[in-house]
C-alpha cells in the first residue's frame, strides 16, 4: 500500500515519537509512506472559532496539496484534531457553494481543492489495511503479559466514526491481541482527555484526566492514538496526583510504539525515553 502522510504540528515536535514509531511500524508492514510537502497547520479547533471559512480553508489548503501531489493515495493523519478538521472540510466540500468559496481563498496560494482527497486516521490504517495474520507474522518479541488499556479519546471516533464506533470503539483490540498483549478494558476508552482545558481551566481539565487515570491504574500502560491525548495523560500525572490526593504513575505510550516494540525495533529508536512517566519498568517485565 502507498500512502501520503500529513504529520501536523504536534507529530513534528512534542509527539515526535509517535511519528518515528509510525514510520517504523508501517515500513515493517511493507507500506510506502511519503510525507506531504509544504503542509501547514490544519487550524485545529481554533480556526473554526476565528471564522467559518478559515476553519475550512486551512485544512483545504493541505487537501489541495495532497490532490496535486498524487490523487490516488490516501492521506494518513495521526492526530485526531487534524483528522477532525479534515473530515469537517471534506463534508463541507460536498456543497459546491462552500467548495467554491474555499477555492476563492486558496487562489492566493495558487491551489485548488476538488473535494476528492481521501483522509484516513492512522488507527484506521493499522486496524483495517493489514490482516491480523500479517501483523502476527511480524512479531519477534510478543508483548506477553503486558496489560494495555486502550484509550481512543474523542475526536478519533467522534463525530466522524467512519471506521469505528463513536461510543464503544474497538479498533485497537485486534492489533493489541496480535502483538500478544492483554487488553485491559475500562469505562473511559472514548471519553475526553480535557484537550485545551488543561491550559485554560486546569482545575477542571485535571479532574477529567484524573478520572481516566483512576480507571486505568490496574493496567501496565495506556495506549493512545493522538498527540493531545498523550500530552494530557502523560505530562500532567504529578499535578493530577497533587490535586486528587492520590498517586498516579502509569506509563502512556503511542500505539505504534507498542507495534514497533513487538516487531523488534529497539526501545531507543521508538523514543520511549521522551515520556514523562518512565516506560522502562513496564517494558522490563516483558520476556526478553
Amino acid at each position: 500500500m502507498k500512502y501520503l502522510f500529513y504529520p501536523g504540528c504536534s507529530m513534528e515536535s512534542s509527539a515526535l515519537e509517535y511519528k518515528d514509531s509510525m514510520y517504523a511500524s508501517l515500513q515493517a508492514l511493507g507500506a510506502e509512506v511519503e510525507e506531504l510537502e509544504d503542509w501547514t497547520c490544519c487550524g485545529a479547533s481554533v480556526a473554526p472559532v476565528m471564522s467559518d471559512l478559515l476553519g475550512m480553508v486551512l485544512p483545504a489548503r493541505n487537501l489541495a496539496l495532497a490532490e496535486r501531489s498524487d490523487g490516488g493515495r490516501p492521506v494518513i493523519v495521526g492526530c485526531s484534531a487534524c483528522f477532525l478538521s479534515f473530515q469537517r472540510t471534506i463534508e463541507a466540500a460536498a456543497d459546491r457553494v462552500r467548495l467554491e468559496k474555499m477555492n476563492q481563498a486558496l487562489e492566493v496560494e495558487g491551489l485548488t481543492y476538488h473535494g476528492k482527497a481521501q483522509v484516513r486516521h492512522l488507527l484506521d490504517v493499522l486496524a483495517n489495511d493489514f490482516k491480523r495474520s500479517e501483523i502476527e507474522a511480524k512479531v519477534k518479541r510478543p508483548l506477553t503479559g503486558l496489560k494495555v488499556a486502550p484509550y481512543y479519546g474523542c475526536q478519533t471516533v467522534r463525530p466522524y466514526a467512519s471506521f469505528d464506533d463513536g461510543q464503544a470503539p474497538h479498533s485497537m483490540v485486534g492489533i493489541l491481541e496480535a502483538l500478544g498483549a492483554t487488553v485491559y478494558h475500562h469505562l473511559h476508552e472514548a471519553t475526553c482527555c480535557g484537550t485545551a482545558l488543561l491550559t485554560t481551566k486546569p482545575e477542571i481539565g485535571m479532574g477529567i484526566v484524573g478520572t481516566i487515570l483512576e480507571d486505568t491504574t490496574a493496567a501496565d500502560c495506556i495506549a493512545t492514538v493522538c498527540p493531545m491525548c498523550h500530552m494530557n495523560l502523560d505530562s500532567y500525572q504529578d499535578k493530577v496526583s497533587r490535586v486528587m490526593g492520590k498517586k498516579f504513575h502509569i506509563p502512556v505510550v503511542f500505539l505504534p510504539q507498542l507495534i514497533g516494540l513487538a516487531f523488534g525495533v529497539s526501545e531507543e529508536q521508538l523514543l520511549f525515553k521522551r515520556h514523562m512517566v518512565p516506560v522502562g519498568p513496564a517494558l522490563a517485565r516483558l520476556p526478553a
Binding site: C9, S10, S14, V46, V49, S51, L197, K201
Partner: protein, 192 residues
C-alpha cells in the same frame, strides 16, 4: 442561576433572531426537546454556570447576553459527546464554535484566559504556518497570567530534558507565512 429558578422573560433583554445568527450550524436547534442528554454526556457540565441543556433553551428564547457572558461554551472541550448522542441530531458542538465566534467578535471580557488561548493560537499559526508549541505557551501565559506559568516550571523543565520542547527563535517582524490566506479569508467573509 439554578435549575429550579423561574426566568421572567419580560424582564430580560431578548434577541429573537439569536438562533438565526448561528445558522447554518443551528438550523435544527428549534427542534430541541430539552431531554438533557447533552448535559448528562458533558464531562465539564458540573463546573458550568449554565448547563448545556439550559443554554440551548436560552438560545431558543433569545437570551443573548446570558449565554454569551456565561462560561459554558469555554468549558466545552469539543469532545462531540453531546452532539453524538443528541436524539434530535442537532450539531451542538458545531454550534458552540459559532457561539465562541460571537463572544470573541463582541470582545466579551469575562473569560479572557479562553479567548486569549484562541487568539494567541491563531496568531502563531498565521505567523509560521505551523504551531510552535513553546512560543504559543509563552505568549499565552504572558498575556494572561504570568504567575500561573511558574506552576508549570517543573513540568516544563522535565519536558525540555525529555526533548519534548523545541527551542526556536521567535520571528518578530516581517510577513507571516499565512498572512495572504488569512487576509483573503477576511475579505471573503466581509462580502457575505
Amino acid at each position: 442561576m439554578t435549575s429550579s429558578e423561574v426566568i421572567n422573560l419580560t424582564a430580560v433583554k431578548r434577541d429573537l433572531a439569536f438562533g438565526d445568527r448561528l445558522i447554518p450550524a443551528a438550523q435544527h436547534l428549534s427542534t430541541c426537546i430539552q431531554c438533557g442528554t447533552c448535559t448528562a454526556s458533558c464531562p465539564s457540565a458540573a463546573a458550568m454556570d449554565i448547563t448545556p441543556r439550559m443554554m440551548w433553551r436560552m438560545v431558543q428564547l433569545g437570551m443573548v447576553d446570558e449565554v454569551l457572558h456565561s462560561k459554558t461554551m469555554w468549558l466545552c472541550s469539543i469532545c462531540y459527546q453531546c452532539q453524538a448522542r443528541c436524539p434530535r441530531g442537532i450539531p451542538l458542538t458545531e454550534i458552540i464554535a459559532k457561539l465562541k465566534q460571537l463572544a470573541i467578535q463582541q470582545q466579551i471580557k469575562e473569560w479572557r484566559e479562553s479567548t486569549t488561548f484562541y487568539l494567541t493560537f491563531a496568531g502563531v499559526m498565521r505567523r509560521y504556518g505551523r504551531m510552535r508549541e513553546l512560543e504559543f505557551m509563552a505568549r499565552y501565559f504572558l498575556s494572561t497570567n504570568p504567575m500561573e506559568a511558574i506552576g508549570y516550571t517543573t513540568m516544563g523543565l522535565t519536558l525540555f530534558r525529555r526533548g519534548k520542547v523545541h527551542l526556536e527563535m521567535p520571528k518578530l517582524g516581517g510577513k507571516g507565512r499565512l498572512d495572504d490566506l488569512f487576509n483573503r479569508v477576511a475579505e471573503l467573509e466581509k462580502q457575505q
